[in-house]
Amino acid sequence: MNIPPAYVLALSGILFAMGVLGVMIRRNAIVIFMSIELMLNSANLVLIGAARAMAPAVEALRGHVFVFFVIAVAAAEVAVGLALIVAIFRTKGTIDVDEVSSLRG
């Protein structure tokens, strides 16, 4: 089965746009967080798709390697991000980002 790269790019574009909209619109920090994960995975999808497109070449492996990096970094980011959200919840009693605006000028 051979999927054209354009399809992969289109899918990842849609996923990325959903992630952006999610970050912009939603107020729940957890949901924003998930939207960020969505954007990361859309990027992973592009990398994988590109790797497949140039499949037999050894260079294709770079795409896979990058994906592993992104997954690892995303995992670390989740750990830190969730810890921050927990800390915010403990002090503010909410995870609504509009409530957490004490840094305004």
């Binding site: 912009m24 305004r104 000028g105």
Partner: protein, 689 residues
Amino acid sequence: MLWSEAAQAEGLFLYAPWIVVLPVIGLILNLLFGRRMGERFVSIVACSAVASAFVIAVLQFLALQGHPEGATVHVADWITIGTLSAPWALKIDTLSATMMLMVTGVSTLIHIYAVGYMHEDVRFQGDPGRYTRFFVFFNLFVAAMMILVTADNYLMMFVGWEGVGLCSYLLIGFWYEKGEGGIGNALAGKKAFITNRIGDFGFLIAMFLIFGTAGSLQFDQVFHWVEGHGLASAGVVTAITLFLLLGATGKSAQLPLYVWLPDAMAGPTPVSALIHAATMVTAGIYMIARSGPLFEAAAFSSELAALIGAATALFAASIAVGQYDIKRVLAYSTISQLGFMMAAVGLGAYVAGMFHLVTHAFFKALLFLSAGSVIQGVEHGHHHAAHGEEEGEHFDPNDMRNMGGLRTRMKVTFWVYLTGALALAGIPPLAGFFSKDEILADASAESTAVYILLAVAALFTAFYMGRQILMVFFGKARSDAAAHARENPPVMTVPLIVLAGLSIVGGALNLPGVHTLTHWLEHTIHVHASEFNLQVALLSVIFALLAILAAWQLYGRKPLAKGQPDPLRRILGPIFVGMENKWWVDELYGFLFIQPYVRLAHFLAEVIDWRFWHDWFHDSVLGRAFKIFTHWLAGPFDLQVIDAIANGLGTLTQGASARLRVLQTGYVRNYALAVLVGGLLALSYFIFG
């Protein structure tokens, strides 16, 4: 391998720099270790340093036998700027070798003598620690003198010239806390230094002129230039030689700058013998002889030099007649004899001048050292006699009126002193006769005025030496000190005997008809063999004998009694008072130069510096202006300008931040939007831009 003559001579010439280096090594050794190692070490180091320098001088002499044209030994580049090049190079030729032999030879003898003399002197003056310092200065002097005589350019000569001047100053003020009023010796040193500076100024100007016109300071190049362009620029050459002459009158104690030499007798006697009689003061004569081609191209300067020399010879001799201090008589005698040499080189008789320079070094060193021996003998006697008596009264061991009858008590000193005095008086066949007669013969041929002045000076010379001998050694002792005087140890008398021998045979250097020195020097300077003039010689001998006879009539037949005034005073009246008071030249200089200078200095200090500069300019002008200025700075300027700038900056920042803070909403989505927009902008730049 065959050693050719040339190779050997080359080899010997290469040792020349050691003549400067060896005394320097001696002085460094003494400077570092002298105090710790004691007098024995110091004297051995100092004497062997100078003696080995003498050996080097002999080596140079031997080298010149094969190569009389000489050699230039380049040691180091010193100054090289543009066309000015002044290397340290030693010019070894017959003229400089003559000086090297004379200076190191006489220095060696005087060093040996000084070992004995200073041993006593430092104890008599009460500071044995200065023994080392004396020999350090003495070695330094020999080194500087060697730099002077071996220089191959005017600048290097000037280095030696200043070096010997410095040593002279240091050694005149050797007992700087002694002398009249506790500063007499220091003042004498200062006087010598300042008077010499006037001469040095002339030397410097001459050097500038030489470099400006000839474009070089090397002797050979300058003389070559004079041969080619001397006539075309006679004015400049005359100016150069006049300034050189000024330098020579300072260093060689000629009119009008001779006044420092008599005062220089404040130094220890070996210093007077070495520096102020035998060697340093002849530097001016040597310099003129060296600059012979310049002086030959400037007739006026040469004639002036001859006249100055002759006038100095007579003037100083006349003062010597009226002095009582044994060393002062010799000092004026030195000035007078230097006048003879100056007259000789002025007349172009360089050989005669150099001949007299060498013989004079022998017998004047002898006379000074013997005088030192006399003084020390009398000091001994004073020390001996003073026991048990009152010690308060000041006693001057230099005053000939306190001496008398020393003939029997100091036999060796008497005989060598007599030899020196007869040599100086020009009695044949001693050295002084031949050298002085050569000058007189040249003078009689060249210039009547100079001849008459010199002949009369020679007459005076014989008279004052006769007077001195009779006052010091004959008659009865005029003080307890003289009555108890005793002879000095061999370390002092043996050099005297050697010098006496040299004073007797020194004339053989340039006997009439043989002209050894003339033939020796003709490789370096222009010479003319002076003819022996029987008439002149006879006349001068008769004059000398007459003068000695007159001295005998006055001082010998009826010896001076204690407290009796000089019999000359009765005969000559006011003239003798003039001689006694050195013709009031010091007073005249004091009135003409020193007092106006002091008044000017006072005026500058009191009026210009204190009242005008300090009171008015500093306090009134600067002080008040500064006050007003600072008031303005602290008040209006600080409040209105500085503060306005600071406040304005604050207001500006506040206004700007009030507008910018609106951007900081605190809502995450606003920031995320900003990031998105930024990212899109960047992306679109890459895609479309």
